[in-house]
Symmetry: C3
Subunit: 281 residues, 3 copies
Amino acid sequence: LPSSPKEGSIFLLTDFGNSDEFAGVLRAVAVRDAPGANVVDISHEVRPFDVRAGALMLERTVPHLGPGVVVAVVDPGVGTDRRAIAVSVREAKGPRFLVGPDNGVLCFALDLLGGAHTAVVLPEVRWRPEAGATFDGRDVFVPSAARLWSGVPLDDLGPRCDPGRLVRLPEPRVEVASGELKAEVLWIDRFGNVQLAARPSDLDSAGLGSQLQVCLLNSPASPATLLEATRSPSFAVAGALGLMTDSNARLSLVRQEGSAATVLDVREGDVVAIRNRRESS
Amino acid sequence: LPSSPKEGSIFLLTDFGNSDEFAGVLRAVAVRDAPGANVVDISHEVRPFDVRAGALMLERTVPHLGPGVVVAVVDPGVGTDRRAIAVSVREAKGPRFLVGPDNGVLCFALDLLGGAHTAVVLPEVRWRPEAGATFDGRDVFVPSAARLWSGVPLDDLGPRCDPGRLVRLPEPRVEVASGELKAEVLWIDRFGNVQLAARPSDLDSAGLGSQLQVCLLNSPASPATLLEATRSPSFAVAGALGLMTDSNARLSLVRQEGSAATVLDVREGDVVAIRNRRESS
Amino acid sequence: LPSSPKEGSIFLLTDFGNSDEFAGVLRAVAVRDAPGANVVDISHEVRPFDVRAGALMLERTVPHLGPGVVVAVVDPGVGTDRRAIAVSVREAKGPRFLVGPDNGVLCFALDLLGGAHTAVVLPEVRWRPEAGATFDGRDVFVPSAARLWSGVPLDDLGPRCDPGRLVRLPEPRVEVASGELKAEVLWIDRFGNVQLAARPSDLDSAGLGSQLQVCLLNSPASPATLLEATRSPSFAVAGALGLMTDSNARLSLVRQEGSAATVLDVREGDVVAIRNRRESS
């Protein structure tokens, strides 16, 4: 079981936003309970209640984290009987522990870290008896992360639960057929880049070249919009849409200094189909 | 008088936003003038010029802060004759010093920390003679906080002023009558939760149960909107509105994964009346 | 050549926003590669792709930074043949190194720091062979900054290039004539304050007093809007618009607790003309 020698960081990912003090209170509690820890904000701007967006953000981030403890709080079920958990990971590189609600927000990151080694259920804590149980980030998750960072053994935090039965979210959807690649839109970033679940090798498997057309599959009733897209090594795209390998090694639809998401009128969770462009189209 | 042994944090709360470099400059000046200090952002997204919102945010936050110095800058009067102050607090737990304009932004937090022990007036400082006196956060407040963090005595910062005569803001409004509780809306958070000035015990004092109706009192001319609300221990509310004890031990009106503020069409500073629900309503 | 004795900060300025994890990944990589460094966010909310706004923000910020390494990433050309550079500066005070794309984002800050002493071109790096070259902040700039912070010599990072031939942006526009001062709008901040390229001494050179009129010059076809402005030492302005010396020692058009930018209907890059107010106007 990996131990934590008071080094590394406490990483924070939430849907708390930056407009209130929620994230600031997490930072303050982390510094108070784990003096000497670096507190690193991954982001607090996950869309409210969007557990899957948080899980995907954490998946994209975790390969780049050094040692420490991750706290991920996208937690619409706070105060209900959903479990609060702390998990140690199998791989020694990167963060050793992940802490958060057992609602799937940790699942993709855990996969990347070799899976959960040991998991414990964190007991409910309230700031004061007269306060509500609505801010587990402050009262449960960050204090637990601070204890782990300080070297307290995982088993001291709560009773074990089966690490093989933690809540999982649906896998990103990719369908590879001959001449067609269907992929879920996983993420639309600030710049309007549209990240797909598919990877570059899926294009080859589907027999697709560099002159492509993209079709949004969400509205079967309405006539499908077909947009042309060209494979590109960078954001410097000739036409309206480029299809490039992004920094997470997935495919992304992009526009040069513009929003591909606006051109496509697409949302996270939508599915697009990519085919070779026909001469006549 | 408490001293500061170069430990703890410098906490920052402002209405500077994150879109410009204002908050970043505060962080940089803090790190430059107090090497070794943790710099912890509480939030920089207080609504511009809203001193009361800043004071209430600081009140909610300060019970969770470890040792250090708080800098709170919501300061529409910067550059006028409003005073800049640094204050030591009576209680040894939590932050020892608060720094900011004497416009009330510190008042509720000071109350929670046992009141002001000693207060001094900070002299005006400009970055350069040819620059304006419009960024006291950078030129006065954070440098003063860094000196306090570094162990410089409070009296070295400026002449004393009467700690009993610092500017105060109006107290949050709560009226308890038999069968009716009136309370000011103190805060609407990112999720649309509506925090009231009242506390759970006020419900009992007013003789109110768990099936309630809520009435917005702001527009006496127009017909009052009556909404049903149900007491709930968590955000998992059956009906349109829940009334719960929040993480600050105040009452909040909430909706499950939705905005109670939108349903109520309510703003900070409004007053709501809560009564028992009538059978016929 | 200045060296970096593992002290000081790594300062981050980007257009990555706070809604995604981009900035968080930079923070995490900095902490991972330079354990012990303070990581200070200047801002991540530069308008997407706006290199000049980033360069001006860095110019305003750099006089207030302590020792360390600045990373500035506003980089629409990422993945193309634009160069990535690291530069040492001539002045020993403040940051010793600046890292970013060679697109002008560093130019104004370099001027303030005495100019570039030595510059090197950073080689392209990808996170993994199968990932795209679209996140140089993560893969090139912050890792290079961490090496510099850790004491690695600049020449170990890449081949030298001519520090006198780095890309420059157009200088801020100011025209002083007798009775008229024309100045570019450099920056509109969160509060709606309108910073001009001109400085207070330019007003004197143009023979302008304290009762002024301001004219927006952008739309020559439409009739010019004339607004009255009064010189003011603070935001406490009597009339609609004040003209004050701001905290960067430039002139700013302001309104008391309101947005001068909205009153003027002005944007960054616009030019305004300031003249003495006529009696009849």
